[in-house]
């Protein structure tokens, strides 16, 4: 074997596959122990190189998966030819001597004629799901039967299905995108405004209007569902209005909208020193509004609802930043102007508005992943439930009885095949006895 061939042989081996399975299992387990988010503060060298805060998207995890995919590909196609040969029905027959050399074989006699015995064997085997073929010889009949010959394809289908799934994941990763937006009720947003969805083509401009958001509750007050009614607009014309909820996303042209959050946004206006409007916006608790044309920004820190008071008495705790530096903080009621920097700009919170948090996603890989999953179930299912078996029989007439030589093989579960094999023999004998008995009754009548 040349160096290259030996290397290839080793790479496409099952040992390599098993090693990769083990490595992926360990790596996956590591990802469940280390928190999977970017740590605050400095990152250690090991963490940095191995990307341990995002194991499943790290270069080495993806490399392991790719290696496994290659190994599977090599492994599967290397065995494809003998596998396909295995699924072909050979129709070959064995003689008495060959049958007695099989691991499971037996010899017994049945009363009656050759033809009757042949029909008996045929009908019993067919009932048990075998395909039967036969060939008459002088004074004897040779028979063969098999079932579950597609069993060998099961593992091939399973392995290929895994590759289909990975391909779907890859395809979705490259051509898909995903983003989250908190959209106030009554507002309209363009898909390209959703952070993370910039990749969506600007040409087929799709806009979404949030018509409503509501919560339904059980009698005990706990929420039973969160719902948003959205209208999709194309070229500013409404094309679809639908209500979506948890477990019931809205789909439009391959883009799916999911209910993922809810709450209230603080409405903010920023005025210039002369009182003219500079900017209007909204932000959730913990979010920052950047003021256009300045290096100031406002952090909406927390809403403060006075106990027993009215909504009008709500105040908002804020912080002002100039660049990265804090430049002040305080608490403001609605419509109470707050000075923003030296230029005389002011901002004010004008009220709270309910919003719906939507996850917007485009993943063209999903159909491929689903197809791969179904293929995988088909593949595993056929290795679980198909029982590959081959049986050969020779029937020979001797006087008033038929000598039956029967033997079989199975690639799977030989101990259990032994059990089935002896059951088959017993059933054959019992049916023969019953037939002979019925026959004698008929003759007596």
């Amino acid at each position: 074997m040349s160096q290259n061939k030996r290397w290839w042989h080793r790479f496409s081996s099952m040992k390599m596959g098993l090693f990769l399975l083990l490595a992926i299992s360990i790596a996956s387990a590591v990802g469940t122990v280390i928190p999977q988010k970017l740590p605050e503060g400095p990152v250690s060298l090991l963490m940095g190189i191995l990307h341990l805060w995002d194991v499943y998207h790290s270069w080495w995890y993806i490399a392991l998966l790719s290696l496994l995919a290659l190994n599977l590909l090599a492994c599967s196609f290397g065995r494809l030819k003998p596998m396909l040969v295995g699924t072909k029905r050979s129709h070959h027959l064995l003689g008495v001597q060959e049958i007695t050399k099989l691991k499971y074989n037996t010899l017994f006699t049945l009363p009656g004629k050759l033809d009757g015995a042949k029909v008996l064997v045929e009908s019993l085997f067919t009932r048990q799901g075998y395909k039967v073929w036969s060939e008459p010889d002088t004074g004897k009949v040779k028979m063969g039967a098999d079932r579950g010959r597609f069993y060998v394809l099961g593992s091939f289908i399973t392995h290929i299905s895994f590759l289909v799934i990975l391909l779907g994941v890859f395809y979705g990763g490259v051509f898909g995108c995903k983003g989250v937006i908190d959209a106030a009720v009554g507002s309209t947003f363009d898909l390209t405004e959703v952070p993370g969805l910039e990749r969506i083509s600007r040409e087929d401009s799709i806009q979404v209007r949030v018509d409503d958001f509501w919560i339904e509750r059980y009698d005990n007050g706990s929420p039973s569902g969160y719902f948003s009614r959205l209208t999709i607009l194309e070229k500013e014309q409404p094309v679809k209005t639908e209500t979506l909820g948890v477990n019931a996303p809205l789909a439009y042209k391959g883009i799916k909208f999911y209910q993922s959050n809810w709450g209230q946004l603080a409405k903010i206006i920023v005025n210039r020193a002369d009182g003219t409007l500079l900017q209007q916006g909204a932000a959730n608790e913990g979010e920052i509004l950047r003021v256009l044309g300045t290096d100031y920004s406002v952090l909406v820190y927390r809403y403060h609802f006075p106990s027993g008071g009215t909504m009008d008495e709500t105040s908002i705790v804020y912080a002002i930043y100039k660049g990265d530096q804090p430049a002040g903080m305080g608490k403001a009621q609605f419509n109470q102007p707050v000075l923003l920097g030296d230029e005389g700009n002011t901002f004010a919170f004008t009220g709270l508005v309910p919003f719906t948090g939507l996850q917007v996603k485009k993943d063209p890989g999903v159909p491929m992943v689903i197809m791969g999953s179904l293929l995988m179930l088909l593949g595993i299912g056929s290795t679980v439930w198909l029982k590959p078996r081959k049986i050969w029989v020779v029937l020979e007439q001797q006087g008033e009885t038929v000598i039956v030589t029967l033997g079989g093989v199975s690639h799977k579960n030989s101990k259990m095949f032994a059990e089935d094999f002896s059951c088959l023999v017993e059933e054959l004998k019992a049916t023969a006895k019953l037939t002979a008995f019925n026959h004698s009754i008929k003759e007596a009548q």
Partner: protein, 280 residues
């Protein structure tokens, strides 16, 4: 938990306990009567277990798959279902001695460790309101049941094999009453194949559901990841067996490791790691 359900739970627990005693008696005495009693009491226990789940379904107006308590009850139910089917199919009773204690332990855990407030019927949170919940959990019950059985068989194999190695002639020992090691090995393999298929169903149904509920078919949530790890371990078992001839001892050890991973996926992840699966 109302009194009817409580009663069904008690009957289940007592029946499984009594069945364990009968399985032990059968194992020691080889008396057919003890064997029959063992199967009958296990069967009664299973029917009571079914009743407990049924009463809960009726009271809650949904299948009993929504929290840890309900799932443990269903896990015990699945384990006994798979075991009884196996006993019927292979006419092989000694395995009961090794499988029933697992279901018993699950119920004992429910009785001792789960506080009453976690047993209350609570309405489903919005994320769980899906038909996929039933498919996902029902397949998990069967998969876990099969893995529990394969674990019992692997333990039996390890005991039997040790006995075969230091076999001293002239002494009949209890362990020798276990079935032939080769048969145990094959049965354990067959059960794992079965469980492997159902685990694949669990993962696929979970992925389809997650695509609807969380917006992504795979989120690397710890429970998700650990179910994948469990599945990969059993996948490794099947491969090592088929092409490396890993039968007998190494296969049995791997089957035990696989079941430890199952238990970790169920218990460990809930108590040690936080994630999206916080409800089960």
């Amino acid at each position: 938990m109302n009194s009817c359900e409580n009663m069904a739970f008690m009957v289940t627990f007592i029946s499984y306990s009594v069945a364990m005693v009968f399985y032990l008696l059968y194992f020691v005495s080889r008396k057919t009567g003890a064997g029959k009693l063992a199967t009958t009491t296990a069967g009664i226990g299973w029917i009571a277990n079914t009743m407990a789940l049924l009463v809960r379904s009726i009271n809650a107006g949904r299948l009993p798959f929504a929290n840890g308590y309900e799932f443990l009850l269903a896990f015990a139910w699945g384990t006994i279902l798979v075991y009884l089917w196996f006993e019927y199919r292979h006419k092989f009773k000694t395995a009961g001695l090794f499988v029933l204690p697992l279901a018993w332990l699950l119920l004992a855990y429910v009785a001792v460790k789960i506080p009453v407030e976690q047993k209350l019927i609570v309405p489903l949170m919005p994320a769980l309101k899906s038909h996929w919940l039933s498919v996902h959990v029902a397949t998990a019950v069967i998969a876990y049941g099969a893995f529990a059985l394969s674990f019992g068989l692997a333990i039996m194999y390890l005991l039997r094999e040790r006995e075969d190695i230091d076999n001293r002639p002239g002494r009949e020992r209890l362990i020798e009453r276990l079935p032939d090691a080769e048969l145990l090995d094959e049965l354990s393999y067959k059960t794992i194949m079965f469980g492997f298929f159902f685990m694949a169903l669990v993962i696929v149904s979970g992925a389809i559901w997650a695509e609807q509920a969380w917006g992504s078919y795979w989120c690397w949530d710890p429970k998700e990841t650990w179910s994948l790890i469990t599945w990969l371990i059993y996948g490794g078992y099947l491969h090592a067996r088929l092409t490396h001839g890993w039968r007998g001892r190494p296969a049995a050890v791997l089957a035990v490791i696989g079941f430890v991973a199952v238990l970790f996926t169920f218990f460990g992840v809930n108590y040690l790691l936080a994630g999206l699966h916080s409800y089960a």
